[in-house]
């Protein structure tokens, strides 16, 4: 089975995926998507493509049957230009790591961890009780709202419930497994959920219904002490509105792992936003790595290899996003 590992990410992880496969494939690797001289013949014969990008201007792929994304998000795959009759699958395995990140940042924002550690490293006992420091917050008894209640949301809810948080959620489609969430709203009812939240987790995928969903009007519906944690996609949240709200203390704080501008080889030092979020002390910021753990890699490349094996053996596939 001719299998093309396409793009930088797939090219890097190809050896680890093949090492976990039991079935035989005929692999080829193409890291550079704009190398048309190599891309045209490679796609002409590929039956399986592993990658997370499919551009509008890609050449014909007449023999393709499976596009196996190497990521959970398929927002960099141009769905209308996919060949007919293929299955598009994605991979997960990042849920436990991201759930850990969400609880870590929610705790850290309530504790004012960065400020406290920075001040204490500089010698200040100001946060110490006998020094007259003001107490910090707890997450016990707080309401966590989750926008996009899928696998990550359920893993977060399970952990947050053990801290005594009330978990509520909003989702595009009806939710079959409510997990530890006590109320589920339709996405159309989001405005009723937002005012209740002490923390709002954005865990949705990027889609027409979620693009720009958290805008200035919706941010204003939230409590002025509320926290926003985004591990979904940056474009779900209005960049300018969020910066303005955080700078003006209209929100309590934020933890941002996904960004409006991404790293590229041409601009390796580019800041992740048009706005100086890095100057705000109520913002925790990480470079899209919340799910990037050893454990995620083990789970993800193992699952991906198993799905390729299933395809080669003609067995039903896991994690089908759509069939074209």
């Amino acid at each position: 089975m001719k299998t093309l590992f396409l793009g930088g990410l797939a090219a890097r992880v190809a050896p680890r995926i093949q090492a976990r496969m039991t079935e035989k494939i005929e692999p080829s690797v193409l890291a550079e998507l704009t190398d048309m001289q190599r891309l045209i013949p490679a796609l002409a014969e590929a039956e399986i493509v592993v990658g997370h990008i499919w551009n509008k201007d890609f050449p014909e792929a007449p023999r393709l049957k499976l596009l196996q994304a190497a990521t959970a998000g398929v927002d960099m795959i141009d769905l209308p230009s996919l060949p007919r009759g293929i299955a598009l699958c994605n991979v997960y395995g990042h849920e436990p790591a991201i759930a850990e990140y969400v609880l870590m940042t929610m705790l850290a924002l309530n504790f004012r961890l960065l400020d406290t550690v920075t001040d204490f490293r500089a010698g200040s006992w100001a946060a110490h009780q006998p020094a007259g420091g003001s107490p910090h917050g707890e997450i016990f008894g707080k309401t966590l709202g989750i926008v996009g209640y899928g696998r990550i949301g359920r893993d977060v809810a399970k952990r947050a419930a053990s801290f005594g948080c009330k978990v509520i959620a909003a989702n595009r489609s009806p939710v079959a497994d409510q997990g530890d969430a006590v109320e589920i709203y339709l996405l159309a009812e989001l405005d009723r959920m937002l005012p209740q939240c002490d923390a709002l987790l954005v865990a949705a995928g990027l889609a027409p219904e979620t693009q720009g969903l958290i805008d200035a009007r919706r941010l204003a519906l939230m409590k002025p002490t509320a926290l926003l944690i985004n591990i979904g996609r940056a474009a779900i949240v209005d960049e300018e509105a969020l910066y303005t709200a955080l700078k003006g203390n209209k929100l309590g704080g934020a933890a941002l792992d996904v960004w409006w501008r991404h790293w590229s080889p041409a601009h390796p030092d580019e800041r992740p936003s048009r706005y100086p979020f890095h100057e705000l002390t109520n913002v925790l910021m990480t470079p899209h790595c919340s799910g990037f753990t050893d454990g995620t890699a083990d789970r993800r490349w193992g699952d991906l290899a198993a799905n390729l094996d299933r395809f080669v053996r003609g067995e039903p596939l896991n994690n089908i996003v759509m069939r074209t």
Binding site: E100, F120, A127, H128, A131, S162, H262, C289, T293
Partner: protein, 325 residues
């Protein structure tokens, strides 16, 4: 019936519970800084002391019957200076906040949060990102957490850590019934068997003769070189020299330290928490003994103290009894 609220924390407590105190109780508040000249008269006929300390050189207090600590630790009360038969009670309410701190610290250490967020904030560095395919960080799922001192705080930590998929071990001075979160509870004497298994060790024990200097250089060396140590108990449970050397030389993976070997005082209000510069170590999260210092803790603790004073005045049985002098 007369009560003396002594010291700054006790004065705050009085302000918080004044409305809840029994009607007939005569309360005297001597706040911070303590005016020694007021003490003889305040102490001589007081039944209830509410404070975090009592010193040997304080004036006689022959009528103390209830000593209600505003803290959990009672090591600053000189028991020999208290009258025979008086009962010492402590107060809690901090378990929730401290358990949150322990899990936060465990997550932050495994996820290398300070390093990653610091480099991204200061330099815009994507080096640790998927995008760059940098080095992945750790997660707590599947790791082993060892809790030294399995009391109220320890149990609250275990309850929160279990849904993360941690394997949980514990060690305790006295035998404890094992609850479902914990795989095994070792006697403190068998601590050496537990330490080598742990990816995180959380010190949640009280300070006592059995726990002073418990974590020695020898025991630190029993831990995995990648293991993280979290101390929310008392500084003296850990050998200061040994921990600093182990962290500096990367013989343990890192630490989160909330409790210290020394504290600021009137002569040296800017005093550091240690003779060693722990605050310069990149693998160490340092906080100023505030893990339990939340508004929720204060309210829960005040309620317990007011409840116990009410119980004493009514002649009901007391809660949180530590010892009878």
């Amino acid at each position: 019936m007369k009560a003396l609220f002594l010291g700054g924390v006790a004065a705050d407590t009085y302000a918080g519970i004044e409305a809840e105190l029994p009607a007939g109780l005569d309360s005297v508040v001597v706040g911070e800084p303590i005016d020694r000249a007021k003490l003889p008269q305040a102490a001589i006929d007081t039944d209830i002391l509410v404070s975090n300390h009592w010193r040997a050189d304080y004036p006689p207090a022959p009528k103390f019957r209830l000593v209600q600590s505003v803290a959990t630790g009672v090591e600053l009360f000189d028991l020999a200076a208290l009258p025979k038969g008086c009962v010492v009670c402590n107060s809690f309410g901090h378990e929730t906040a401290i358990a949150e701190y322990v899990v936060m610290a465990m997550l932050a250490l495994h996820h290398r949060f300070f390093q990653i967020s610091g480099e991204f904030r200061e330099h815009g560095s994507w080096a640790t990102s998927w995008v760059q395919s940098g080095t992945p960080h750790g997660e707590v799922r599947g790791t082993t957490l060892g809790i030294v001192g399995y009391g109220r705080v320890g149990r609250e930590v275990a309850r929160r850590a279990a849904p993360f998929g941690c394997r949980i071990l514990a060690a305790n001075r006295s035998p404890r019934e094992r609850d479902q979160e914990v795989e095994r509870i070792y006697p403190l004497a068998e601590l050496d068997q537990m330490l080598p298994q742990c990816d995180t060790v959380a010190i949640c024990t009280a300070l006592g003769p059995e726990t002073t200097g418990l974590i020695t250089a020898r025991r630190l060396a029993l831990m995995k070189p990648t293991a993280f140590l979290i101390n929310i108990a008392r500084g003296q449970v850990i050998d200061e020299d040994a921990l600093f050397a182990a962290l500096r030389d990367n013989r343990v993976g890192g630490a989160a330290i909330d409790v210290w070997w020394q504290y600021p005082n009137q002569d040296d209000p800017a005093r550091r928490g240690s003779r060693y510069p722990f605050h310069e170590l990149p693998n160490t999260i340092v906080t100023p003994h505030n893990s339990g210092w939340t508004a929720g803790m204060v309210r829960r603790r005040w309620d317990e103290i007011a409840d116990n004073i009410g119980r004493y005045c009514r002649g009901d049985s007391l809660i949180n009894l530590v010892t009878t002098v």
